[in-house]
Symmetry: C2
Subunit: 201 residues, 2 copies
C-alpha cells in the first residue's frame, strides 16, 4: 500500500480500524467515503472529535461523561435524590436514560468485578458509591448491572458492602421474558426466572 | 438524549453514524470507546482526519487520491506507460495495487454508467480517458470494471469510444472461478463463463 497512497491516508485507515465496529477492510472503505465527502463529513467529524477531545470530561460525582462537571444529570435539580441507580458503564446509563424509566441519580462503576481479568474492588468506583449511599437522603440503591456472572457477582458484593446501611433498600432489575420476546427462543435460565417471579394478572 | 449528554457528544455520535460500517447504535458504542481512549485514539484520530482534510487531493491525471498531485503512481517512473488500467473507484485501484498484479498506469472513472440513477457519460471521467488513450505510447487499455450489468455496460461504452484508436488493444478482466472458490457455491453465470473460457492444462 505504501506505493499507492501517502502515509497520511495509511495512518487514518489504521486509526479507523481501531474504532469498534470497523475492521481493517471497512476502515479502508470508511476512509475513502470520508475523503469523498470531505466538506460534508470529513471536516465536521475531525472538528467534532477535536471538540470531544478538548471538552469532554468524567463527572466527578457519578462517573458519567459530559462537557460539564458535574454532568447534566447530577446538575438536574428535578431528579429524585433518594434513588441511586448503579450501572457498569456509561453506555448502560445512556440506555436507561433512553428508556426514560427512572428520573434519579446514577453511579457508574466503570466495570464489574472479574477476578480472572484481574478486576478487583479497588479498580471500580466503589468507595465513592459507599459514601454516596450513606447520605441520609438516599432511600434506595438499584443495581442495574448486566445479567452476567460477573455482573451478578458485583451486585452481591455491593449488596454486602451496603448491608450496614439500614436506612436504604438495595434492589436489582427484574429477570424475565423481554418485551416482544418469544419463549421458544429464550434460554432455560430466563424462563425459570420468569416463572419463579411470575406476577398476578 | 439531550438531557443525558451534551450537544458535543450527540453531534459526534450523529457524524460517526454516517461513516459506512457504523450505524446509530454502533456509533454510540464507538463514541464511548473513543472517549475512553482519549489520548491513545480520540486525539490521534481527530488529528489524522484534520490532516486528511487539509492535505488529500484528487490526482489530476488519473483520479487517484493522494497528498500529492500527480499522485505517487502517476509520478512513479518505473511503471509501464503503455498500459492503462481503467477502474470504477479509487478502492478498486487500491485492491489491484494490493494484488500487485500490474505495474502500469490507472484511470479512475468515478463510477459507472447507470441510466436509472441518472449517471450518463458526462458524469464520468471519460473525456480525459479518451485523451490519455490517444497517446501513441499507450498499447493497451485494460477495463478492470466490476462484473455487474452497469460495469459491463460501461466497459462496452468505453470499448466503443476507443474503437477508432487502432494502435491500442482494449481488454477486460477474465471471468471465471475465483481462486479457492467451490463450484457448488458459484452462480450459473460464473460457471458458464469459466467453462466457455476454459484454458488448456
Amino acid at each position: 500500500m505504501a506505493s499507492t497512497t501517502g502515509p497520511e491516508i495509511e495512518k487514518l485507515i489504521q486509526l479507523l480500524a481501531r474504532v469498534p465496529g470497523l475492521g481493517p477492510r471497512s476502515a479502508r472503505r470508511a476512509a475513502l467515503h470520508l475523503i469523498k465527502k470531505k466538506e460534508q463529513l470529513l471536516g465536521p467529524l475531525a472538528e467534532a472529535l477535536q471538540l470531544a477531545h478538548d471538552r469532554i470530561m468524567v463527572c466527578g460525582a457519578c462517573g458519567n461523561i459530559d462537557t460539564q462537571n458535574p454532568c447534566v444529570i447530577c446538575a438536574d435539580h428535578k431528579r429524585d435524590d433518594g434513588i441511586l441507580v448503579v450501572v457498569e458503564e456509561v453506555s448502560d446509563l445512556w440506555a436507561l436514560e433512553r428508556a426514560g424509566a427512572v428520573r434519579a441519580r446514577y453511579h457508574v462503576l466503570g466495570g464489574v468485578l472479574s477476578p480472572l481479568d484481574g478486576v478487583t474492588p479497588e479498580h471500580l468506583n466503589l468507595a465513592a458509591l459507599a459514601v454516596r449511599a450513606a447520605d441520609p437522603a438516599v432511600r434506595e440503591v438499584i443495581l442495574a448491572l448486566n445479567a452476567t456472572v460477573d455482573g451478578q457477582t458485583t451486585a452481591y458484593y455491593i449488596a454486602d458492602m451496603l448491608a450496614h446501611l439500614t436506612h436504604i433498600k438495595v434492589s436489582r432489575l427484574a429477570y424475565g421474558v423481554p418485551v416482544g420476546g418469544e419463549l421458544d427462543y429464550l434460554d432455560e435460565g430466563t424462563l425459570s426466572a420468569a416463572l419463579k417471579q411470575r406476577t398476578a394478572l
